[in-house]
Amino acid sequence: MSYLPLVVLWFLGGSLLVFIVAPLINLVARQTGQSLGSVASQAVVRDAIFLSLQTAAITTLIAVIFGTPLALFLARTTSRFKGVVEALVYLPLAVPHTVAGIALLLIFGKEGLFGKAAAPLGLQFYGTQAGIVIAMLFVSVPFMVTSARLGFESIDPQLEKAARTLGESPFGVFRRVNLPLGLGGILTGAILTFARSIAEIGAVIVLAYYPLTAPVEIYNLFLSFGLGKASAMAVLFLLVALSIFLVVRYLINTFLVSGRS
């Protein structure tokens, strides 16, 4: 038996991995403790990183609350409108993020329909944290809905019926069957949403350039001071985000997902 086809497949897959990892390793390898310390000592950098983490966390929370019911609907419905709803959920993936930002600005901006409606409640989106959250939510919500949906689809529908015969109302079934058994999908969706949100710049820069998130500040540093400072902050941001990502993933796998299977 020839191993050549297998070697070719390994080579193709491996090449893609190198393509993903090499730029990031190279970026990190170029930094020194001094360069990282220098950018970390600047309040504007720390504030931007903190703001990115904070807004991404809020975005994730909103995505989980609103995306989970939609995911359950898509997993279980046999409605003829299912295809349309699916297409709408995936739409943000196909829209360039700057275009998404402009669309959001037109509706959430001061003169926009939602912007005007929210103004009396003291809620403004243009140039605010709320605007950053809206922009992040728009681009990341497909990840939340898709992952949660896959989680719900993996639940045997007979379990839901069993819960009904055991006295649970439809909401009781959601709470006691769908949520615990679909938790893996929901948490995966939450992690992907957080990761996608924290990295967003295109839509954010249009709707809420200020206050500065980390990607926007990195872009500013690149334009003002060149690659040196920008790459130092990029590495700092990458390390912080990656650490949080790994810790959260570890906690989820240890205490929630593997504990339930």
């Binding site: 007979q158 819960a163 055991l166 009781g172 058994l181």
Partner: protein, 366 residues
């Protein structure tokens, strides 16, 4: 008034329809709904459970109209195909699932675990339980809420053949000990006959026959029900009706007495259970009009302790013989053999619509 009844229940599910289903069941009885895949067994059970709401008809349980009641209010215990145990919960948590609002939840759970003999499994997750253990957990979980009616949806269909018999007997014992009222759907006639007090045979969303299990098994309504119950079907060359309840038929030169329960048909077939017909050595002295059918052995297939003998001639006939019986007869392909039918074992029944061919009827007899 019956303990449980369905009156003219009709429901459309996509392209499938349940058509005017009616039956009633007394307390402590087991009704088995027997039918092939796609006949509507599960749809019927799910309608009774309230997963599908019937638009026409009425369902009553213990004097209460539950036609429009949501599933959780129907007080039914449902045992699913594959048992539908919650994989994220332990055995104990599964059993306690439906007792959330019960004051003596812990005590009732332990009672159920003891009753089904699974207390030793209480802390185990359900994923690695054997088929028998899963069945006991599912029964304990359904029983814990003290349901008024048990619904069983082919619980043994996914179990391998070796374990099925034991599980079936255990289930039978459970229902008898508990004096439970239950509805059980299956496509397996052995399972049906072991468990049923009342047997209903369903096809294409319609009940074809319902009655005492032994009665349905012995006297099928038509050729389809007979074949589904494992009976053999022979087409007579002629039919001559005698007094009420009997007819003489001609098959392969033989003249055979049959019982007739339903005179309302134009096409007839003779049906019988295979064990009511014996293959015997051919006797050359037989003449036309004798009570045996003479055929030629076409094929012999050894099946372990049994031997399948296929015969052909004016009709086709298949018989299962014990190996010893087969050796004693000394049969070989190409030999002539006679079929002898036990007295009173032949039934003349209407031919179901999908069966073709029409026996030649003696014009004077109809």
């Amino acid at each position: 008034m019956s303990y449980f009844s369905l009156q003219q229940i009709s429901i459309t599910l996509g392209h499938f329809q349940l058509k005017r289903i009616s039956f009633s069941l007394e307390s402590k009885q087991t009704l088995v709904i027997l039918g092939p895949s796609g006949s509507g067994k599960t749809a019927l059970l799910e309608t009774i459970a309230g997963f599908n709401l019937a638009k026409e008809g009425k369902i009553e349980l213990d004097g209460e109209d539950i036609t429009k009641a949501p599933t959780e209010k129907r007080k039914m215990g449902y045992v699913f195909q594959n048992y539908a145990l919650f994989p994220n919960l332990t055995v104990e948590q599964n059993v306690a699932f439906g007792l959330r609002q019960s004051a003596n939840r812990q005590q009732r759970t332990l009672e159920m675990l003891d009753f089904l003999g699974i207390r030793n499994l209480a802390k185990r997750k359900t994923g690695k339980l054997s088929g028998g253990e899963k069945q006991r957990v599912a029964l304990a979980r359904a029983l814990a809420r003290n349901p008024k009616l048990f619904l069983f949806d082919e619980p043994l269909s996914a179990v391998d053949a070796a374990a099925r018999e034991g599980l079936r007997d255990e289930l039978h014992l459970f229902l008898r000990n508990l004096n439970a009222t239950s509805l059980y759907v299956t496509h397996d006639r052995t399972e049906a006959l072991v468990l049923a007090d009342i047997l209903a045979v369903i096809k294409n969303g319609e009940i074809q026959q319902i009655g005492n299990a032994n009665e349905v098994f012995t006297y099928p309504n038509d050729s389809w029900v007979a074949k589904f119950l494992g009976m053999q079907v022979l087409r007579p060359e002629w039919v001559e009706f005698l007094d009420k309840g009997h007819a003489m038929v001609g098959i392969g030169g033989a003249k055979l007495l049959t019982q007739v329960r339903n005179n309302d048909a134009s096409k007839w077939v003779v049906v019988f259970h295979p064990d009511d017909a014996q293959v015997i050595k051919h006797s050359k002295e037989l003449k036309d009009g004798s009570e045996v059918v003479s055929l030629i052995i076409d094929k012999i297939t050894p099946l372990g302790p049994l031997v399948r003998v296929e015969l052909k001639g004016t009709v086709l006939f298949t018989s299962l013989l014990l190996r010893r019986q087969y050796s004693e007869l000394g049969l070989n392909p190409g030999d002539a053999a006679d079929i002898h039918f036990d007295a009173g074992s032949l039934q003349l029944v209407p031919e179901a619509k999908e069966d073709v061919s029409n026996p030649e009827l003696k014009s004077s007899q109809l």
